[in-house]
Symmetry: C2
Subunit: 244 residues, 2 copies
Amino acid sequence: MKNYKIIVSYDGTKYSGWQKQGNTDNTIQGKLENILSKMTGEKVEVFGSGRTDAGAHAKYQVANFKIDTDKNKKQILEYLNEYLPNDIAVNSIEQVDIRFHSRLNAKTKTYLYRINTTGIPNVFEKNFVFNTKANIDLEKMRQASKEFIGEHDFLPFCSNKKTKKSTVRKIYSISIIEENGEIKIYVKGNGFLYNMVRIIVGTLFEIGQGKRENNIQEIFEGKERVNAGITMPSCGLCLIDVEY
Amino acid sequence: MKNYKIIVSYDGTKYSGWQKQGNTDNTIQGKLENILSKMTGEKVEVFGSGRTDAGAHAKYQVANFKIDTDKNKKQILEYLNEYLPNDIAVNSIEQVDIRFHSRLNAKTKTYLYRINTTGIPNVFEKNFVFNTKANIDLEKMRQASKEFIGEHDFLPFCSNKKTKKSTVRKIYSISIIEENGEIKIYVKGNGFLYNMVRIIVGTLFEIGQGKRENNIQEIFEGKERVNAGITMPSCGLCLIDVEY
């Protein structure tokens, strides 16, 4: 039995997210498991570094799986890319320690959220950006983004109301960059709750438009989802790095 | 009556090409004409700098149309982008001399053909590149590409057998660049016949694989389509510049 770590990219537009759900296989995890199970003749479980939302993308998702096979790693990579649909690709594969686990060992994750403010749709990246005609004050967004840095209870920035697990997470950095009318928001943290990045960005987006004061501290203190901003559409969201 | 010049981008994947055909409006020209006719209440004709093939793309297609309207150019631009599908966008608009004609006045056009040779599908650009596992000798392609430069009768590099018009065209340059396993072939000329770029690239692609000697001069002399290489798939082709 060998443990393999893979780097996966996907255009998540057509999928119900990374994680398998009930009897639909319209997930990235489901697609990978089906192909590996077919390849080995045994049920294979694929562990991702974390879920990504329905419609969200990954340039760099990390996953691992344990299999018995005569194929070498180059052959496994080719087999996967041969049978995966053209919106999912495995970029690389390496054999890792049998104890390596993509999610449990992950130290940081970085997400990118893209907002096109030019008023001109980007036809070549239409699935990967959120379009808006809003006027946005980047300095207001940058100022407010500092309030998220550090360890906080992110319960008000989570869509899952029923969670019993800890909702404390640590944000290491939020960088907001503008290039040719596109705003890129990079969020790096030790982990993220359900919809957390999209709600953080939605709150900053409202602040940038002047629809909301910088009331991040109050939102943390109130501990209520209703106080935070909108959940941004998933199309603009992409997982771009996982560190171990 | 004012004459407007627009720069149009499109992901051509779902379209039957630039040019209107019979009673289908599944063309870029058809979409633009329908919206402008609705806007002005009169039948509007849109002239493109040239046809692009079914499934081929444009980052920079130039078109012009003559209309009477109270709207200013910014309002026309916004109206078009409001009603165009999200795989077609108008990037800019300017009023030009009433005699300006996008096709007749065009001096050069530049196309880009993209070939991904990494063996790993590019999931974010799957509609815009041709994927191959072939081993390609770039130097062989570059050597052979020189034979196309200058004025030639490109009849053997044209899919339309019935043309009665001149098939003489001038190629100014062909640049072949490799970046991270992607081969980019830039072809600049004073005009192109039906499928001409795709057949030129197909011939160079066969030469690069060692499937064909550099027999470009013989192909020109033979004047037969059958002597030239394959027509590359349209997905990899994009019109990127038009000069006046």
